[in-house]
C-alpha cells in the first residue's frame, strides 16, 4: 500500500505505524510522529494500523529560536 511520509510517497507492507517506521529507516531514532494530523505517541505506534493513502509526519529535534 502507499503512504505519504513527510509528503513523500512510499510503498510499504500493510501493517502498523511502528513497522512502517522500521522499514523506512527510522528504527531507534529520536522522533515524534503524527498520523493524518493527529499525534501518535511512541507506545501507540505498534497498535496503530496504517491504511492506504495515510499521511504520516515524522519530526526530529532541530535548532530553534
Amino acid at each position: 500500500m502507499r503512504i505519504f511520509l513527510n509528503d513523500d510517497a512510499h510503498d510499504v507492507e500493510p501493517g502498523t505505524l511502528a513497522a512502517a517506521l522500521e522499514a523506512l529507516g527510522y528504527g531507534g531514532r529520536k522522533i515524534a510522529t503524527a498520523l493524518n494530523g493527529r499525534f501518535v505517541a511512541v507506545p501507540a505506534r505498534p497498535a496503530t494500523q496504517l491504511t492506504d493513502g495515510d499521511r504520516v509526519e515524522v519530526v526530529a529535534p532541530m535548532q530553534g529560536g
Binding site: 529507516g25 522522533i31 499525534f39 526530529a60 529535534p61 532541530m62 530553534g64
Partner: protein, 257 residues
C-alpha cells in the same frame, strides 16, 4: 528567578538556530551562561540524521530545553506540535507560538489564548510568545500561563524594544508573573533596557547567532543582562525635564561683580 517552580540563575535564554557551525553554537551557549535553550521540531527523512546529531550535541550540554511551536499558524498545528515536543524532549515546557501574520511573525493572540488554554489543561507549562497587549496577557494568565513572553519587536528584526510604554505597563500590571522579552533584540543595550524595566529575563537568538562573532556577542549579552538587572535593583532615577545640578550650589564662592 523561577519558571514553573524551576530555579534559574541565568536570566538569558538563548535560541539554537542560525549559527555558523555546531561548534560555534556550543561555544556561544557556554559564553552566554544560559541555562535554558530553545529548540524546535522539523521533518526528518529516513536517510537524514541531522536531528539526531543536533540532539546529541544539546543533550551533552546538560541544559534545560524549551521546545517551541515555531511556524505554526493554527491552534491545531500548535497543539499537535506541542504534544510531539513533549514526548520528544521529555518536558512539559512549551514555548507557544501561533503566528498570525507572515511578514511580521506577529502572534495570532486569539489562537494563542485558545491553544494556551488547551495545553495548560493538558498539563503543559506554557511560555506564550505574545504581544505587549495587557488584555491578552490577562487572558493568557486566566488560561493557566505562569510566564509571559511579550515581543520586543518582530522576530529577527533587531529593532529592540518597539513599545517601551507597553512593556512597562505589562510589568506594572503583572508584578508576580515572570516576564521575558522574547524576540526583536539586536544589541546588548536592548537587553539591558528590558532588564532595567524590571523584566525577569530575555530570550534571543538571531542577535547572537548572526553576529560577526557569535561567541563574543553571547558574552556581551550576558554582561548586559547582568548590568540591566543590577541597575533595576538599584532603583534608577526617573527622567526629568530640567537640569538638576549634581555639584552642590551651597558654599560656592561668590566671584561675580
Amino acid at each position: 528567578m523561577s519558571f514553573y517552580g524551576v530555579e534559574l540563575s541565568s536570566r538569558l535564554l538563548l535560541g539554537t538556530a542560525r549559527y555558523p557551525s555546531p561548534a560555534i553554537l556550543v561555544e556561544a551557549i557556554k559564553a552566554s551562561g544560559a541555562e535554558v535553550v530553545t529548540v524546535s521540531l522539523r521533518r526528518e527523512s529516513g536517510a537524514d540524521r541531522a536531528g539526531q546529531s543536533f540532539w546529541s550535541l544539546i543533550r551533552a550540554l546538560g541544559l534545560r530545553v524549551l521546545p517551541n511551536t515555531a511556524g505554526c499558524h493554527s491552534v491545531k498545528e500548535a497543539v499537535t506540535t506541542a504534544h510531539m515536543a513533549r514526548e520528544l524532549f521529555d518536558t512539559t515546557w512549551i514555548k507557544l507560538e501561533v503566528i498570525g501574520d507572515a511578514d511580521t511573525l506577529q502572534p495570532d493572540v486569539f489562537g494563542l489564548v485558545e491553544a494556551a488554554r488547551i495545553l495548560a489543561e493538558d498539563g503543559f507549562e506554557v511560555f506564550p510568545y505574545t504581544t505587549e497587549d495587557l488584555v491578552v496577557a490577562d487572558r493568557l494568565v486566566e488560561a493557566g500561563c505562569r510566564v509571559l513572553m511579550p515581543w520586543g519587536a518582530p522576530i529577527g528584526s533587531a529593532r529592540g524594544l518597539n513599545n517601551v510604554y507597553g512593556l512597562r505597563s505589562l510589568r506594572a500590571h503583572f508584578p508576580d508573573i515572570p516576564l521575558v522579552v522574547d524576540a526583536g533584540l539586536g544589541v546588548p543595550s536592548h537587553a539591558a533596557a528590558a532588564m532595567e524595566l524590571g523584566y525577569d529575563a530575555v530570550l534571543l537568538n538571531t542577535a547572537v547567532a548572526e553576529a560577526g562573532d557569535p561567541v563574543e556577542m553571547a558574552r556581551a549579552f550576558a554582561l548586559a543582562v547582568e548590568a540591566g538587572r543590577a541597575a533595576y535593583l538599584a532603583q534608577p532615577l526617573e527622567p526629568r525635564d530640567m537640569a538638576a545640578p549634581s555639584t552642590p550650589v551651597i558654599g560656592k564662592a561668590a566671584l561675580g561683580d
